[in-house]
Amino acid sequence: MTDVSTAEIALRTEDVWKIYPQEPEDVEAVRGVSLEVREGDFMTMAGPSGSGKTTLLNMLGGLTRPTRGRIWVRDLEITELSNKELARLRLESIGFVFQAFNLLPVLSALENAEFSLLLRGVPAKERHERVHALFEEIGLEGLADRKPARLSGGQQQRVAVARAVVGKPALVLADEPTANLDSHTSDALLGVMERLNHEHGTTFLFSTHDPRVMERAHRRVTLVDGQIASDERD
């Protein structure tokens, strides 16, 4: 397990704001958030609906641009990157796990999981070896050729996790990853991610209000009205 206190910074924000222009009054979804996430962190970002969790997560992942403020992934400031550079950043440094799994329906489980490696030009043999090893580790043996429609919710989310971590990103951003799963499946999935965090040092940042996720996290940030209300570390 990584010693987080001495680890490198995986992500850093400085006074990040997201304001949506709206009549009669603009909506301030995220208000001046400054945050540091270290390599190996296993942390949650909780808060009520509308507190700005997903908006902040999208900005951290380079999916949405902040209205103002600065964001760094490792040493790279991403705020001023072009769309093409942001796409490259997402490909190489960030993994995503979504509430709705969001697997590509036209690809098999294996093809979904290896997608980022495929885009990076990793040779087929290496791709397959890495994905098969990961599938074995997270309990997806024998399901490589199945299309998402033929997988259960838990299996789909495991494939999504495999897709997020297979490229060894700087961090994995997971938006309500257990919201669509039953408690047993959620526990199993969280176990998989915990193990990846322990054994590989993969950094996880969850947006959630699932108490089971928060219980397992080492650090819990709470957002209220777009601002950090608390930041607790075990």
């Binding site: 997903t54 093409k84 885009l119």
Partner: protein
């Protein structure tokens, strides 16, 4: 470039995944293409029939005349024997592919036909009976008696209208009067050996054929001709033939445009040319409307597919595809649908056109009587004709429709808000 196979795979699987949508979209395009091919080949077949009838009713696809004859119709503007021979020699020198199916030499003038009961202005064509019988539509339209024969000296072949108005029957004698090359008015007694009916009133009531040897001696124009005409294998080779015979006649016999004028059928029969062009424009408008409808249908389905798959495209971008690559996936999907539709459309178009209508489409059901148009009698049976250039144009048209209809959805896919697209609903 290394991502191209991945993008192609995503696009092809996208097409296959939405099989019903893909099938509907490509069916609309394929039907449009098949309809275009059928309608285009029907129009081409119809036009070729018009032209063929028109040039056989007149003086051929390519004509040689003295400058000014077309305007004056006077024997003063005639080809000398040498010039007529040079014209025939230039036609004989053409490649086998361009070689005429039939040629004719005519000495034509306007004159008066008089019988005991009446008189009528007519066009008098002095013709070689053998050459003319394989050339002229009028020669084939005999309804009574026979066409002229080589030994006929004082025989005349007249339109049914001429026979009726002059009260002539087979064996009747009447007098043709015209101005000779010396300027004198000369008369020639002839006897009716055949009556024809083309269906065109201006021809049936105004044309008389006599032997060219009779015409030459009667009008004092030994060896001369007013027109040398040729029927070609197809109207599409006319420009090539005109250009070839123009240079050949200049080189071989040293005759220039001031001596022998070479005319294409378009120049000789501008009304027929205009009729074909107008019909073509009508077809283009029809095809334009057809393709606009097909394009809107394709645009609608492809755009709906993009909107429906917004989340999928958001995921692709979250995973590292650039907006341009996402648009490319949509665009390639459109191209694949177009290619699918193109192949299906061509097969369908060929099958419909040749499979069902290889013997021609009979429109006589819609025509109670003979239908004349721009100086020709329309054949109620139209045989579709494939022209490679129009087949190619049809395919290009459907490709343009497919590509155009894919551009906006592809652009739309590049502009999606990834954060919004990924929101859970």
């Amino acid at each position: 470039m290394r991502r191209t196979p991945t993008l192609l795979r995503l696009a092809s699987r996208g097409v296959l995944r939405e099989a019903r949508r893909s099938l509907l979209t490509s069916s609309a395009m394929a039907l449009g293409l098949a309809l275009l091919m059928f309608s285009r080949s029907l129009a081409d077949g119809g036009h070729e029939d018009w032209i063929n009838t028109g040039v056989r009713m007149g003086s051929g696809h390519v004509l040689f005349q003295a400058p000014g004859f077309r305007e004056s119709r006077s024997l003063d503007d005639r080809l000398s024997g040498d010039e007529a021979e040079a014209a025939l020699a230039s036609l004989a020198a053409l490649d086998e592919r361009l070689a005429p199916l039939a040629t004719t030499v005519r000495l034509s003038t306007v004159g008066l036909a008089s019988s005991a009961s009446s008189a009528l202005p007519v066009m008098i064509d002095g013709v070689d009976p053998v050459a003319e019988s394989g050339f002229s539509h009028a020669a084939e339209a005999v309804i009574e008696g026979r066409y002229l024969e080589p030994d006929d000296r004082l025989s005349a072949y007249v339109g049914t209208g001429v026979a009726e108005r002059l009260d002539l029957s087979l064996g009747s004698r009447f007098v043709l009067t015209a101005q000779s090359t010396s300027g004198d008015i000369e008369g020639q007694l002839v006897r009716v050996v055949g009556v024809f009916r083309t269906g065109l009133p201006e021809v049936d009531e105004g044309l008389v054929h006599i032997s060219i040897s009779t015409a030459r001696s009667w009008l004092g124009a030994e060896g001369a001709a007013t027109t040398v005409g040729a029927i070609l294998p197809a109207s599409s080779v006319v420009d090539e033939v005109v250009s070839a015979v123009r240079s050949d006649i200049a080189v071989r016999s040293n005759f220039g445009e001031d001596d022998v004028r070479v005319l294409s059928w378009q120049e000789a029969y501008p009304e027929l040319d205009a009729a074909v062009r107008i019909d073509d424009y009508g077809d283009y408008v029809f095809h334009g409307i057809l393709f606009a409808i097909v394009a809107l249908a394709v645009l609608n389905t492809v755009l709906m597919a993009v909107l429906y798959r917004k989340r999928e495209f958001g995921v692709l971008q979250a995973l590292g595809l650039t907006p341009a690559e996402t648009g490319l996936v949509v665009f390639v999907e459109g191209l694949l649908l177009t290619a699918l539709a193109g192949v299906a459309g061509i097969i369908l178009g060929v099958a419909v056109t040749w499979g069902f209508f290889s013997d021609g489409l009979d429109f006589s059901f819609f025509m109670d009587e003979e239908f004349t148009f721009s100086g020709i009698v329309m054949d109620p049976v139209i045989v579709p004709e494939f022209r490679m250039v129009h087949l190619f144009q049809s395919f290009v048209s459907i490709a343009v429709v497919g590509i155009s209809a894919s551009i906006y959805p592809a652009y739309h896919a590049t502009k999606i808000d990834v954060g919004e697209a990924l929101k859970f609903e």
